[in-house]
């Protein structure tokens, strides 16, 4: 049975979801990992396969290629700005965003950025675009910190998304995460999305839960994974139960199968 829950995102929702999180989490063993790997290996792929919550929600349908824009850049810069501001008391978020943008530009100038990276795109963008990236990143950073400040337990901004390479299956799984809250010896993972949740938001959340568990060195699941949609004032949550982990893994494998079917149809 799934533990997926849906509620309005009011001022106390996040705190209550953290406090109510179960104290015991499930864990994935080496047998689970081997079994998942075998299932992915059974779904043939020509190139390297990348799956995430978005591809699960889209049922493996191909979407148009990724391109940098102020909206796609805002999460990276915004999250880094919140982390920077937390590390330097007195630093305002707007200054933290400016510092992050400057760091990206310096990275491009010093030659450490590769083609297609955010730093590379920013370095070639006109000044007003950089200004707009800062405005979008500031929107994101303020929103994230406003949400985090409603939680009384210690929290930190996730340094990166969680990644898991499935052994011998040419498959990389990516789990989205923005905040990690420590609560009574367990971790609660929070991810923030713009817009409003669709009908497949639940499977997407479970996919993120499974990937975050797989990416953990000991295979311990987060006590709860919380998805926030502040634009719509809605939040969903799912507990780190074995049922939800299995459902998440199943959805990821199904997405791989759907992707292969789509590609086969396109090739024909």
């Amino acid at each position: 049975m799934t533990t997926l829950a849906h509620r309005r995102l009011d001022a106390h929702a996040l705190e209550l979801l953290v406090i109510d999180a179960p104290n015991v989490s499930s864990a994935l063993t080496d047998d689970h990992r081997r079994s998942l790997s075998a299932r992915f290996r059974a779904v043939a792929t020509v190139g390297h396969r990348r799956l995430d919550a978005w591809s699960v929600e889209q049922a493996g349908r191909t979407t148009k290629g990724f391109a940098w824009s102020p909206r796609t850049a805002r999460r990276i810069i915004g999250n880094a700005a919140v982390a920077r501001a937390e590390g330097q008391p007195g630093l305002t978020l707007i200054d933290a965003v400016r510092d992050e943008v400057t760091d990206q530009l310096l990275r491009a100038t010093s030659g450490y950025s590769r083609t297609g990276s955010l730093a590379h795109w920013l370095a070639s963008a006109p000044n007003p675009v950089i200004g707009l990236v800062s405005a979008e990143a500031l929107n994101w950073a303020i929103q994230l910190r406003e949400l985090a400040e409603t939680v009384s337990s210690p929290w930190k901004v996730a340094g990166s998304d969680s990644y898991y390479d499935v052994a011998s299956a040419r498959t990389t799984l990516r789990g989205r995460r923005d905040l990690v809250v420590a609560h009574e010896g367990t971790r609660v993972v929070v991810r923030v999305r713009s817009g409003a949740p669709g009908k497949s938001a639940g499977p997407g959340l479970r996919a993120d839960l499974t990937v975050d568990t797989l990416a953990d060195p000991l295979g311990v699941a987060p006590a709860r994974l919380i998805g926030l949609w502040p634009d719509a004032g809605v939040c969903l949550s799912v507990d780190g139960s074995m049922d939800d982990l299995r459902a998440g893994a199943r959805d990821l494998v199904r997405t791989a199968v759907a992707q292969r079917r789509t590609l086969t149809a396109l090739a024909a």
């Binding site: 009011d10 001022a11 824009s69 305002t92 000044n127 707009l132 500031l138 634009d231």
Partner: protein, 265 residues
């Protein structure tokens, strides 16, 4: 009669925030009641029937009668409004705008290269582009002078797209707030909303103020401090403290708009 002021007039940002000690406590209780009123009203309008597609209510849906001679709804007017908001966004993060039209175009094109507004821009001839550039510059000059500096600690957020699903998802309140200041986490009300328009302020602006305040209250559960509108055509600023009466009128506006859309989809 000419009146000389002893001190410069307060900027838009200063007028919005006002004095901290005069702010009321944050109202976190009204949101649920407003939502219940809306849900009841929606049920009365739809009589339990479900529309084929969700009914989306925006500020433009609140107009009592469609306007045919409104300059803002013309192609040039829409473009001017879109470009001015880009400049407002740049100003909110302290960006120094040197060439208003070119900067606004650069900012807008990096995020939107298709759609009705983009098509409208492509169709303009050289004279119309020159007129648009002059218009944008004039409106920007008015806005820049009035706006003042936006301090970073006031948490400026720009072009916020928000929505609220009501009636089981059959009715969607969709809104975009041009500039928002303040935090919802403070004990006193501190969130202020600003709507910038290139048209003169009228009844539509009043309804927009109420709509912004209502959607923000439903979304965050906290009643904002003020809702305001600024016209870059006249330099006029309307500021309203958000209270129970304003929110109730906002609810009535939404239900009336829903009634119209339900009868004439």
């Amino acid at each position: 009669m000419t009146t000389l002021l002893d001190s410069p007039a307060p900027s838009v940002v200063e007028a919005l925030r006002g004095e901290r000690r005069r702010r009321p406590l944050a109202d976190r209780a009204s949101s649920s009641g407003l939502r219940a009123q809306l849900e009841d009203g929606i049920f009365e309008v739809t009589a339990g029937h479900r529309p084929a597609a969700p009914i989306v209510i925006r500020t433009s849906s609140l107009r009592v009668a469609p306007l045919t001679t409104d300059l803002a709804s013309s192609s040039l007017g829409r473009l001017r409004g879109v470009l001015l908001i880009e400049l407002l966004r740049l100003a909110s993060v302290g960006f120094q705008v040197e060439s208003p039209f070119d900067d606004a175009l650069d900012a807008w094109r990096c995020q939107s290269s298709s759609g009705a507004v983009a098509d409208g821009l492509e169709r303009l001839n050289r004279d119309e582009v020159a007129r648009l550039a002059t218009d944008v510059e004039a409106h920007w000059t008015t806005l820049r002078r009035a706006l003042g500096t936006v301090p970073g600690p006031w948490l400026p957020r720009s072009a916020l797209r928000v929505s609220q699903h009501l009636g089981g998802g059959d009715v969607v309140l969709a809104d975009t707030v041009d500039l928002m200041l303040g935090s919802t986490n403070t004990d006193v009300a501190s969130v202020t909303l600003l709507d910038v328009t290139t048209s003169p302020l009228g009844d539509g602006a009043e309804r927009a103020l109420r709509f912004h305040a209502l959607v923000q209250t439903l979304r965050t559960g906290v009643v904002p401090l003020r809702s305001s509108a600024f016209s870059s055509a006249t330099g006029e600023l309307w500021v309203r403290d958000v209270d129970r009466e304003l929110l109730q009128r906002g609810v009535r506006d939404v239900l009336e708009a829903l009634g119209r859309l339900w009868r004439n989809p």
